[in-house]
């Protein structure tokens, strides 16, 4: 185990043994990771990722499948050890981690699940009862208290999961895809819970595949294949888009396809050099495609960040190939 990993597990053990406050100062402390790498055998799941989790703020971690979002959250929660880098957490007792499948007991009722968690974290029964009532009431779960979790719908289960990890007022909350597969009404409830926890001073990190949700976050971390491709506030990420983005009014050409993506009924094209197909272009095809350049939103910005990374990787690959060939000659 690396030094960081050791420090982390030591922190876990201390937290397990010691008191509620986990030995950290309340408030101003900032949690997260610094140049964190996680290796599963030969696979590098996370490559020098830096995550900031600030009290009172929501950080969204976005990225495609296999980007490393879950690994990042699991690592911060202590479920996975770091191979390199640093993790700062307030200690096990002060972390609330909600996995994507919520991890609630399907054969226990809503109430029983919450009671178990409250006891496990040593929350006063009276205080827990009050909080449970408030949260269940607010999220429309109050009528389902006696229901077994396996009888709940996906959205209800997610809400229960979020309530469960909020019970002990953790300083750092980690939600893995809390809103995936949830209807818009339940999503609003979930966001209320999450935003409420942030307002109470918790530092929140949530992974999501919905970029409209990420726009609501204070800051966003974009991962692709285990690497950080963009980070900052949504505005900063949008402002940092290199080149230009334009809307095409026809299908992209073969050579453009790698740089184009579909949004609703339209196609969008990223032009790294800032030169979009223009109405006065040389070829009729280009003239036919011409459309106004647009102001990108976060979804465009994230897509471009990932494309830019792929472009870099491809260039590096060509470069190293060329060097290798040169070497042989």
């Amino acid at each position: 185990m690396t030094a960081a990993g050791r420090a982390h597990s030591a922190a876990r053990e201390t937290a397990a043994r010691e008191t509620d406050d986990g030995g950290q100062e309340p408030g101003a402390e900032e949690w997260g990771t610094n140049m964190l790498s996680v290796r599963y055998g030969a696979v590098l799941a996370l490559d020098r990722v830096t995550l900031r989790a600030v009290p009172g703020e929501i950080t969204a971690v976005v990225g495609g499948d296999g980007a490393g979002r879950t690994t990042l959250l699991r690592c911060v929660s202590g479920l996975v050890g770091a191979s390199e880098g640093e993790i700062r957490t307030p200690g096990l007792r002060q972390i609330g981690y909600l996995q994507a499948d919520t991890g609630m007991y399907p054969d226990l009722s809503v109430e029983e699940n919450l009671a178990f968690r409250a006891t496990a974290f040593g929350v006063e029964p009276a205080a827990a009862g009050q909080r449970v009532n408030d949260l269940l009431e607010r999220t429309g779960l109050a009528a389902w208290r006696q229901r077994l979790v396996r009888q709940l719908s996906g959205g209800m289960r997610k809400k229960l999961g979020v309530i469960a990890v909020l019970l002990h007022h953790p300083k750092l909350l980690l939600f893995d895809e809390p809103t995936t597969g949830v209807d818009p009404v339940s999503r609003a409830d979930l966001w209320w819970l999450i935003a409420h926890a942030a307002a109470e001073g918790a530092a929140i990190v949530m992974s999501t595949s919905y970029l409209d949700e990420a726009e609501r976050a204070t800051s966003v971390l974009v991962l692709d294949a285990g690497r950080e491709v963009a980070a900052g506030t949504p505005d900063e990420i949008v402002a940092a888009v290199p080149g230009a983005i334009c809307v095409l009014n026809a299908r992209p050409r073969q050579d453009q396809q790698k740089m184009a993506w579909r949004r609703g009924r339209q196609w969008r094209l990223w032009c790294p050099d800032g030169n979009c197909p223009a109405a006065d272009a040389d070829t009729p095809a280009e003239r036919g495609q011409a459309q106004a350049r647009i102001q990108p939103d976060l979804q465009d910005a994230v897509t471009v960040a990932v494309l830019a990374r792929e472009l870099d990787t491809a260039r590096d690959g060509q470069l190293s190939n060329a060097t290798a060939k040169g070497g042989v000659r």
Partner: protein, 379 residues
Amino acid sequence: MWALIVKEFRQMRRDRRTLALMIVMPIVLLVVLGYAASFDVHSIPTVVAGPQARPVTPQLHKPLDVTRIEPAKGLAWALSELRDGKAVVAIVTGAPRPAVLVDGTQLFAARTALTALSSFSRSSSGTSAAAPGQSPPLPAAVHILYNPELKTSDIMIPGIPGIVLVFVGTVITSLGVVRERETGTLEQLAVMPFRPRDVFFGKIVPYFAVATADLAIVIAVGVAIFGVPFRGSMGVFALGALLFLFATLGMGVLISSVSENQGQAVQLAMMTMLPQVLLSGLIFPLSSIVAGVRWIAYFLPLTYFTQISRGVMLRAEPITALWQPFVYLAVLGTVVLFLATLRFRSYLSPAPHARMPRRRMGSDSDAAETALAGSRDRK
């Protein structure tokens, strides 16, 4: 249909453990059971006591196997030899007619002994007129001890709690733990402020309680309905049951920590349960099992629990006579529990490497497996 068949074989190939079980298990079972399944007793440990012990001994032949001759000792010694399970037949000479004592708890050995003894008596009465100075003809009075009617229930029921405890301890416990993994709740346990030890004992204590209640019920029913005697000390029995439970519960946790799902856990649990039932001496006498297979019995906790439970319930054996099964059971329990806690700890602890200790001492192929496991983790 063809597509379905191909798919089924693909899935089967993925689940190597089931495949191995399907192919290897029948062969192993056949071989083991073929050698183990025998009620025939070829050798019956016999002790001879009393002043005429030496002259009597030459008349005893197979299957009676004279292990000790003590002319200076008498009935009390012979009884203690039987009680402590050191012999199945004891012949006490001295009175006008020798007395033959048979341990009725060794059902098959006792039956074989009785057959042998009756054939001796026929042959000796055939050549009746014993010359003066010759030893008296055998046998005279045969006493079957502990289980005078040679009832099967008397010897089976003390063994049944063992099977019940194996079932609850191994099968149910392994299911209970692996279910946490399957439903993803184990991950939540791992991020709660519990130490691995808390989780371990938190998981097994309820099963321990249920198994204890089961045990009490089975014993009570055996005594009340089947009239099985409980002659020995409750304390000695309880201690034996405690050690046995630790071993079986530990086995349950061990099985669950190497199983991905409940199906695999049940398979493995069954694999440990079947030999326990068949090879522990509960059904087939240990001495009848071929030596090449019998050694397996010495690694099975049920073997020792059966000895303790029969000894205490039927023969009122004191703990001093049962020290051997107690020691073996304690050693087995400690080893199993130690391995189980070790596995369980790595099951719950952070660090990808520590979480997969089976693959920790990695060769290249191990690394590939770890990578696979990793990508599974990442979803």
